[in-house]
Symmetry: C2
């Protein structure tokens, strides 16, 4: 029972895979109550509209272009107020339980979201949060690229937002927070990270100290904070690594199957790696803005989009947005450090 506003033109495989993702969601879910609002260029609307006639809960909107994957976000925003993402966000502000989804230019989606949805009072910059699989369960990592040069106090806000994510989505009572760093000891890392450590130690009651890259996968903390530059590189590093390992496993299984012809299909043996496959994953939540916005990987295919819609529905149901607003009303305002 949500309203989804989908940027049909965003992503390396748009519009085809985006629309296939919408169809996948519609055919596989029992969701007949939600409305899916699709934003595309006139040409795309005309081409695909007839194929979606069988679904009653689809609405099409014609946008005047879109932000390209290589475009400069701020420039693109200034030059065109009616891109697919800008229109989707504007329409989203008109209804309750609206979830915007885009696999387009990340900077463009972040900047448009801030402009249109606005920031929650107390948040200086938005942050991209994602849940990654660990030995224990899942850990929330943020920022994954919304803000590449955050100020010290931003990390404290990331911690608060990450904790709410862990509480609301995973039901963790009192989530612990780690600061991504190159060593466990307090004096480690660049000066700014040392200062972040001091601030978190002072202001964040459940701060577990520094956490190293490998420890994250142990699941020893529920929330990991880092700057958007490091976070974005990490996410993609992991993605490339998983893809390479997957191809090696495939080679191995194919070699094994040569010896055992009874196994005619092996793709199911790779299913257990899906949680590690970020391009099949459901997208990341943009937090700190006054609305639900899910940013999908530029390389998203139909699975990601279908999962993103499913996840968006969960986010809206948890009411995490009102919890964030409530929390920031009561928090002291930190000086921009």
């Amino acid at each position: 029972m949500a309203n989804f506003f989908i940027d049909v033109m965003g992503g390396d495989y748009a519009p085809d895979e985006i629309l296939k993702g919408v169809e996948k969601y519609l055919t596989e879910s029992n969701d007949t109550n939600s409305t899916i609002h699709l934003f595309a260029t006139e040409e795309v609307v005309n081409k695909y509209n007839p194929l979606f006639n069988k679904y009653r809960n689809i609405k099409w909107y014609i946008a005047k272009g879109f932000i390209g994957m290589g475009d400069k976000p701020v420039q693109a925003l200034q030059e065109n107020h009616n891109t697919t993402i800008a229109m989707a966000l504007r329409k989203a502000t008109e209804v309750e339980n609206a979830v915007v989804i885009s696999a387009g230019n990340t900077g463009g989606v972040v900047a448009s979201s801030v402009l249109t949805l606005g920031l929650i009072e107390g948040v200086r910059r938005p942050v991209i949060a994602c849940s990654i699989p660990t030995k224990k369960s899942n850990t929330i990592v943020l920022d994954l690229g919304a803000n590449i040069e955050p100020k010290i106090s931003d990390f404290l806000i990331y911690a608060k937002l990450g904790k709410l994510y862990a509480q609301k989505i995973y039901g963790i009572q009192n989530p612990s927070v780690g600061l991504l760093n190159i060593g466990e000891e307090k004096g480690k890392g660049p000066r700014i990270i040392q200062e972040v450590h001091n601030l978190l130690q002072k202001e964040e009651e459940n701060f577990a100290g520094n956490i190293e890259g490998n420890e994250v996968f142990e699941g020893s903390v529920n929330v990991v904070v880092c700057d958007g530059f490091v976070g974005n590189i990490l996410l993609k590093w992991g993605e490339g690594l998983v893809e390479l390992i997957k191809s090696k496993i495939k080679e191995k299984i194919e070699a094994l199957l040569g010896a055992m012809p009874s196994f005619s299909s092996f793709s199911k043996y790779l299913d257990f790696l899906k949680p590690f496959d970020y391009s099949e994953y459901g997208g990341a939540l943009l937090m700190g803005v006054n609305g639900y916005c899910i940013i999908c990987h530029g390389r998203s295919k139909k699975e990601t989009i279908a999962n993103a819609i499913k996840k968006g529905s969960e986010y809206a149901q948890t009411g995490i947005l009102s919890s964030i607003k409530e929390l920031f009303k009561t928090l002291p305002k930190y000086k921009e450090g």
Copy 2:
């Protein structure tokens, strides 16, 4: 035909696994010409000396303590001039083709190396370089943690050193260099990274531009430069991810084996993942210092140490050190930017 100087006390599993690694190398290699110099505390020397009596090419040295994994490097250096690593480095300066190996406190090894071996003229700070497996072959990534707040011009030196590594160790004629960043376009990343991009574009003839985390594993460039903070976190992130995936694969294979009892051992099916397993890997080369120093992972076990000795022998044979010295004689001196 090299001289190895090994810090027996460095690492989470020292001295046991370090010495097991030495034994593994000695029993598995045909190397009867090299001398292995072992540096340990008196107690350890007395305990293990008898077990190594059968090997003729071992020399023991008694050090007055060692730098602990949690110690502050500079403080530790000032307080004790006769730690295992300090003595190993000093002794190494007395002979040709000396290779120092330590799995101890990274900061301690780096600082001691600079102090004792000295820097090659033209290099401001040393850098840790490692070769990682990619789809095509191997890519050299540096810095992995020697210098967490490098200056802009340091990246150019990393590029030059990385290229020499690719040339000398992998025989690549004209290696390409990528700058690790969050997007391909020029204006991406924090300001300092944008300036690094400009410098590399101007001064590095085979600069391939920015490279994203996932692209590294495609093997699209031969050398990737990044700061030591990002590099260290990345390396460990990959390590944690590979460990987690390995445990999932093990579970999967065990489940499969339940159905096929004829497979009595499955560990060999995981061998293909070894190149991704940094804790079994042979250690990273500290470049820019006037000598060969291999820094192994703190969690190194005997395999890593044995591999590090093998690799050290290769490094010394390539004469990469004299190539670095030659190159930096001819390079213009870049201002510290």
